[in-house]
Amino acid sequence: MFTFPLVYSFTYYSFTKIKKIMNEEIKLMKGNEAIAHAAIRCGCDGYFGYPITPQSEVLETLALEKPWETTGMVVLQAESEVAAINMVYGGAGTGKKVMTSSSSPGISLKQEGISYLAGSELPSLIVNIVRGGPGLGTIQPSQADYFQTVKGGGHGDYRLIALAPASVQEMADFVGLGFDLAFKYNNPVMILSDGIIGQMMEKVVLPPFRPRMTEEEITEKCPWAAVGKPAGRKRNVITSLELDASLMEQNNHRFQKKYRLIEENEVRYEEIECEDAEYLLIAFGSSARICQKSVEIARSHGIKLGLLRPITLWPFPSKIINRYADKVKAMLSVELNAGQMVEDVRLAVNGKVKVEHYGRLGGIVFTPDEIVGAVEKMRNEE
């Protein structure tokens, strides 16, 4: 039944994994292109975007693929990021699976709409291919939008579920996952990527085609959707407005309850060489990819270095980081910014061990050796 000549590989992959890879088409593409293909394949109903470097390939790929002729997915270039996010709001309000993508300055413009999406509890997907800021900044990659993503960005007490892909494969995988989480919790989800993951080409296995939701499925999953009021049900109103402060407080308590549930159920992370680690790197997205190499180099120098990669930036993997704080001598939060996630690492560690930050700013990317150097410096300072 099964003949497989690559015995070498067999020792590395489980049977199911090999079968999966053999049956599926492997493609080479940019992270941004993977987002577009994954959107079409996961039953997305509509994409609304506006060009900005380094994410324009998302809209370009969709325009080239013409999914409106195949799956029926709507693709529209809006007049601005503001309009695009409000189109997402409009579409999500009718129970449709809709998304947008942009890069940092454009994401700033979308913050109004994101706050409204959170306030109206609308499932939706927003992709941020981060570039260096502040202001118009640079088109080079950065992770300086961490605070904006996990601490708010828009006004009011709300949370986004934030997924941080570290490969083109994860760019593809997180589109479907993002929508699933969005509809599970009626909450906007953000894929926080950057110019490296968006622009680099890697092999990727695209997800299988999933049909778009039928009207029956929408009615079942989204009984709140504004689709036209049939006789016998109350009218559905999509709004974040509640002038009665006591009711608005109740709404906020409902949101907070949901956020606690998400924190309980949806924390995702990856541990690389953490088992015996004396020093731990904490890094997400493209930084984590670079840190993987740093771990390899450090270990060849005899330093027991591990890497913990948060996959969800919110909810943040605080519990596991706190557990490692009992085991390791120090942690280094490695980010392409001036020190943002390090605050959450310190909160998780709660003073148990030293936590430092290493970063490069404004579009400059660190090398694996630079990070090993930072670890060695931290060791010597003990």
Binding site: G46, A78, G90, G91, T94, V98, A231
Partner: protein, 261 residues
């Protein structure tokens, strides 16, 4: 003829053959927050009547604005989405594109449509989205307490131009529908009012046409209703109607601006 022979009881009066007018069923039986003399109530009723007459209650999605009509969703028994300030045409664009068989309309004031939402308005119209836009133009921000609107007349006093609108300082009253009629995506652009019974009938016909255009995928229709804001204008309802005829109509003359058959 004796008096008792002609006296009708309430029972006699509410017989179906005596009924000449009734509230559309889509209008919810709740107190409105609109001020006495405000045009919103009449326009709401017209929208409700048209939806009901077209039999579209189960196929209509209304987009409410930010401004006095923010609570439109309390008054009409249809599904609604409440937009951020000025963004109603963007929401409507997505709803209509994703659900082309639905009747999609926005209901917006002058600040929402012609100031903060100018880009969304112009581009939705330019794309020829098959949506209907109901545009209430009363030359003032009512909800926030009577500040200057893009459509405020030259010399007109508001809370933020207390000495009258000075065009050197604040620019000119924006005749937005005149701009929209030039866009190839628009099908029907009209300017109406609801200050007399005859005007109400004409406005209703205009709304009906706009809604039919949405259903027949004919491009964007805009029904501007030159309206009163008695409270904002600091006039009583009768004076407000008179003031509107004398001052608003010359700047915003009524009639069809564009009607592509």
């Amino acid at each position: 003829m004796k008096n008792e022979e002609v006296r009708m009881t309430t029972k006699d009066i509410i017989k179906p053959e005596n009924l000449v007018y009734q509230k559309p069923e889509i209008m919810n039986d709740v107190p409105m927050h609109y001020c006495p003399g405000c045009s919103h109530g009449v326009v709401h009723k017209l929208v409700a009547e048209v939806i009901e007459e077209m039999g579209m209650q189960d196929k209509t999605v209304g987009i409410a604005p930010v401004g006095c009509a923010v609570f439109a969703y309390n008054y009409l028994d249809i599904d609604w989405e409440e937009a951020a300030h000025g963004r109603a045409p963007a929401l409507a664009t997505a709803v209509k594109r994703l659900r082309p068989d639905r009747l999609v309309f926005t209901y917006q004031g002058d600040g929402d449509l012609a100031a903060i939402g100018t880009a969304e308005t112009v581009h939705a119209c330019n794309r020829g989205e098959s949506i209907a836009i109901i545009f209430i133009n009363n030359g003032i921000y009512g909800m926030t307490g009577g500040q200057m609107a893009p459509t405020t007349l030259e010399g007109m006093k508001t809370a933020t131009c207390p000495y009258g609108r000075d065009v050197k300082l604040n620019g000119y009253p924006l005749k937005i529908t005149n701009i929209l009629k030039e866009l190839e995506g628009t099908r029907y652009i009209t300017r109406q009012s609801v200050h007399t019974a005859a005007a109400v009938r004409k406005a209703k016909k205009a709304i009906r046409k706009a809604f039919e255009n949405s259903m027949e995928d004919k491009g964007t229709s805009v029904v501007e209703i030159v309206s009163t804001c008695a409270s904002g204008w600091k006039l009583d309802p009768v004076q407000a109607n008179e003031w509107m005829e004398k001052n608003m109509f010359p700047a915003y003359p009524l009639g069809d601006l564009k009607n592509v058959e």
